[in-house]
């Protein structure tokens, strides 16, 4: 009933998964891909070529700060820190594309070492890419010039727990499972389970405004953070003397989501909660997506909310359910997953029933729970088979969601069909608020000869549809480089200028993640 019964996995560079636990596509899926015109590509992955990095003097300088054991320049290490896990990233990885490869990887052991590293990199005019879990899917690890990657994995401590205030101070390099394990020893949970949970880290959650699968019960990561420490090239900023304050703007919310452009978040103080004694996950069926959307809106607005609440549309329900009988003998409909940390809440179930839902019991709920981090693992074998598969997401107010869903789906279908590769587009809602919700799309089609360009075209069409239909360019993936232009359009030129001005103060030499979030000025 906890996360600890799931196998421990490790992400591998260029593949979302663990070579020791290969994931194979079901034969039926391989068959289904043929209907999309998917064909296994002829080429094999290309090995990356080594290219020289920093000077010896520069490396000695970095080593003088973190120690020689904590500076690496070998190809494996550098290639393993190249880009993240978007489909274009994986495709470029397979092509052996070494643009975006760091010149060195350094592993500081403390906040002070991070601070000293930033000063050193300023002096040497070296760009810095902060690296926490490395799980960006928006091009968040590809600076616009040569750079040093600062990998925070040695900042892996639970620094303090305040049991009276129910807060914990966690260093940026603590990964999701480690955070839960450290807190579990004291009887607590953070309750943050994004799909990248196995690989992502506290610092990345904070820098990219992460949201987890239990957001209905625990909130987003930015709602869990009550304090943070930011190392900038100009010095350290510490924020958060109280849960909430009227002392000026909430500057924590200016650092959360800054994606390394202002500095490196080295630790955060997060709200923690007692570890639940029990958990329950159920499947619920609704006649169609519209009916399911009305039901989850009712829970979001009038309660009581469960801990996990997600709703697949018809297409995703049909594709993702291994056993179509689960919805009642192939009668169609859509699947919702409802999860409770703690006792089962009968009032939630009553509200869902009143809204037309049919309780499918714990079977589909447990199936989802056990496979909850597995979906991204399917992407690698799908790419192996020659499919293009990628996800994107947005959020909007409830009244705009139906139009937004239709517009994004239409844009993706139109763009990919025009390219000769008609896609399958699946959608679900996985984060709800009183005033709106997120939409998460999965797109599958055959690859063209240039799948990177193919997806770029489709993505631009989707971004345009999101903007036109009134959605935000990202609900939980972040901006990176992939959404930078759309983000600038979303907040407008004056707000961009304001952010650039903040960056200029904290990072006057523009060494911090240049080109991520904001264009380099």
């Amino acid at each position: 009933m906890t996360e600890s019964d799931l196998p421990v996995v490790h992400l591998t560079p260029g593949r979302w998964g663990d070579p020791d636990h290969p994931v194979e596509l079901p034969a039926a899926a391989v068959e289904a891909l043929k209907h999309l015109g998917v064909r296994r590509p002829a080429g094999s992955p290309v090995d990356p070529e080594y290219r020289p990095g920093l000077t010896t003097a520069q490396l000695d300088f970095l080593a003088s700060i973190v120690g020689p054991d904590h500076v690496t320049t070998d190809l494996d290490s550098r290639w393993g820190h190249t880009r993240g896990y978007s489909t274009p990233d994986l495709l470029r990885h397979r092509a052996g594309d070494t643009t975006d490869m760091p010149d060195a990887v350094v592993y500081p052991g403390s906040h002070d070492e991070v601070q000293a590293l930033l000063a050193a990199c300023c002096e040497e005019k070296l760009a810095v890419v902060p690296y926490s879990g490395g799980t960006s899917v928006v091009g968040g690890l590809a600076a616009d010039r040569r750079f040093v990657t600062v990998d925070l994995r040695r900042l892996d401590q639970l620094v303090a727990i305040d049991e009276i205030s129910r807060t914990a101070t966690l260093q940026a390099g603590v990964r999701g499972p480690a955070a839960e394990a450290l807190l579990a020893e004291r009887g607590y949970t953070l309750g943050h389970f994004p799909q990248s949970y196995e690989g992502a880290s506290i610092g990345g959650y904070a820098a990219a405004r992460s949201s987890g699968q239990s957001s209905a019960g625990y909130g987003r990561f930015d709602q869990m953070v009550v304090g943070l420490t930011l190392a900038t090239p100009r010095g350290t900023i510490e924020l958060g003397r109280a849960p909430m304050s009227a002392a000026g703007p909430d500057l924590r919310q200016l650092v959360l989501g800054s994606e390394g452009a202002f500095g490196i978040i080295t630790s955060v103080v997060v709200r923690i909660r007692p570890r639940p004694a029990e958990r329950h996950f159920e499947g619920w069926r609704f006649e169609n997506f519209e009916a399911g959307l009305a039901a989850i809106r009712r829970l979001a607005q009038d309660g009581p909310l469960p801990t996990v609440l997600r709703l697949s549309d018809e297409a995703e329900t049909a594709v993702n359910l291994a056993d179509p009988d689960v919805l009642g003998g192939g009668s169609g409909g859509v699947l919702a997953i409802v999860g409770f940390d703690g006792p089962y809440n009968a009032a939630t179930a009553r509200a869902l029933t009143e809204a037309g839902g049919q309780n499918l019991g714990e079977g589909p709920g447990e199936t989802w729970r056990v496979g909850r981090y597995r979906a991204p693992y399917l992407r690698d074998p799908l790419l192996d088979e020659g499919a293009l598969v990628e996800t994107l997401e947005t959020a909007a107010f409830w009244s705009k969601l139906p139009g937004l869903k239709a517009a994004v789906t239409e844009a993706l279908v139109k763009s990919l069909t025009e390219q000769g590769t008609p896609p399958l587009v699946l959608c679900h809602v996985s984060h709800v608020y009183e005033t709106g919700a997120s939409l998460y799309f999965t797109v599958i089609s055959a690859q063209t000869d240039d799948p990177v360009a193919q997806w770029r075209t489709a993505k631009i069409a989707a971004n345009h549809a999101i903007a036109t239909a009134g959605g935000t360019i990202s609900h939980h993936h972040g901006v990176g480089t992939d959404h930078r232009d759309a983000y600038a359009e979303e907040i407008g030129p004056l707000a961009v200028e304001a952010l650039q001005a903040v960056k200029k103060v904290l990072d006057p030499d523009n060494i911090m993640n240049p080109g991520i979030l904001l264009t380099s000025s």
Copy 2:
């Protein structure tokens, strides 16, 4: 059971109250003041003297934008817009002190007129003080140079309601009661009831990060805002395409709390909720403040939270209760107020009983509800009698609250006793979070010959104690000028520089509320 059974009042310049509804101190209170050495001051209020303001050309320019009927320069109008309602403000008002008096008051009728006014004021190098409800108690209406006040009262519309998303678009000049009345017509409530409710406005709530008495149930105002429009001297910024987003920092939280330093918030989109059919307010008794604090922490951390939750300490309980028998025949103890919008929640009551609370029934709850906006009205007759009376507030994490309360109390007692005026210091908690809570202090002593300087000395001591004991300089009053130095110390010089840089982008001529929030650079 709603706010509509309370008398409608209007704030008067220089007095918190309505001349038609004068508040008199109970005879027992007047008697009690003698024990503090309070003596009725000899002098009478001084009338302000007229001094010339803008040139005719400047006034014509402003009138060309808003119309001649919407520019005023008479003494009454200017004096009525001079400062806010802190005790030093009231004392200076009584002294006829016309520093901080605006040179003109303009009343724009639309966002576009606000935008045009800011452009005009840039051109004429006129400073601008935005004026919404005028209820600042932190010197938020006293620019550091001569200025024009932009009074937003004509922006009084409920622009739109989105019933599916449960959001309302309200203009900045809508006052608290008007907002509730407009929403009530459609069956909704905002649920925001700060003590300044009768006078304060939507724009001020937003600009100063207001928090209301029902914050346990409805959240703070900054948690209600999902979108906003800001007019800056450089142009308009519109924020909020979704309830939450991972597209960069949450810039709404950079504008909320900016106190007019970046521009004028002309409208906000807020979350609304169905108007409750019933309300319940109860008094609860705890043995002492410590026991009460443990009980409300339990509700804040483990639930279920009521809508209103506040706890007075021993001193405040003793002073504020008209009838000491309410706590059980003068046996001491402390009073908590617990309020529910909607059905009474027996689970909350059970948790309070388990935590040692004794239910005093609806009597003390209703007494509090009916008098909930009345406390500030007592200040004027207290000042008339020669008492110094002022409030200040802070917030911190739960583990720091006892030390913070002791430190602030000690600092105030020490400072005022050293000045020959030993005070009474009362305290309550009125806003709770999972990780911490607010502390609100009321201070009463005799006045010295220079009560403004007397309070300044005490306030500096309190600010120092807050910083040392780990609290934030304001939980819901804001920064203004009174907290500006303490605020700069709280966030540190780098963060101040970042805010200054944002201001420089949006307000390059430093016309917006100069000296408020940030020192003029």
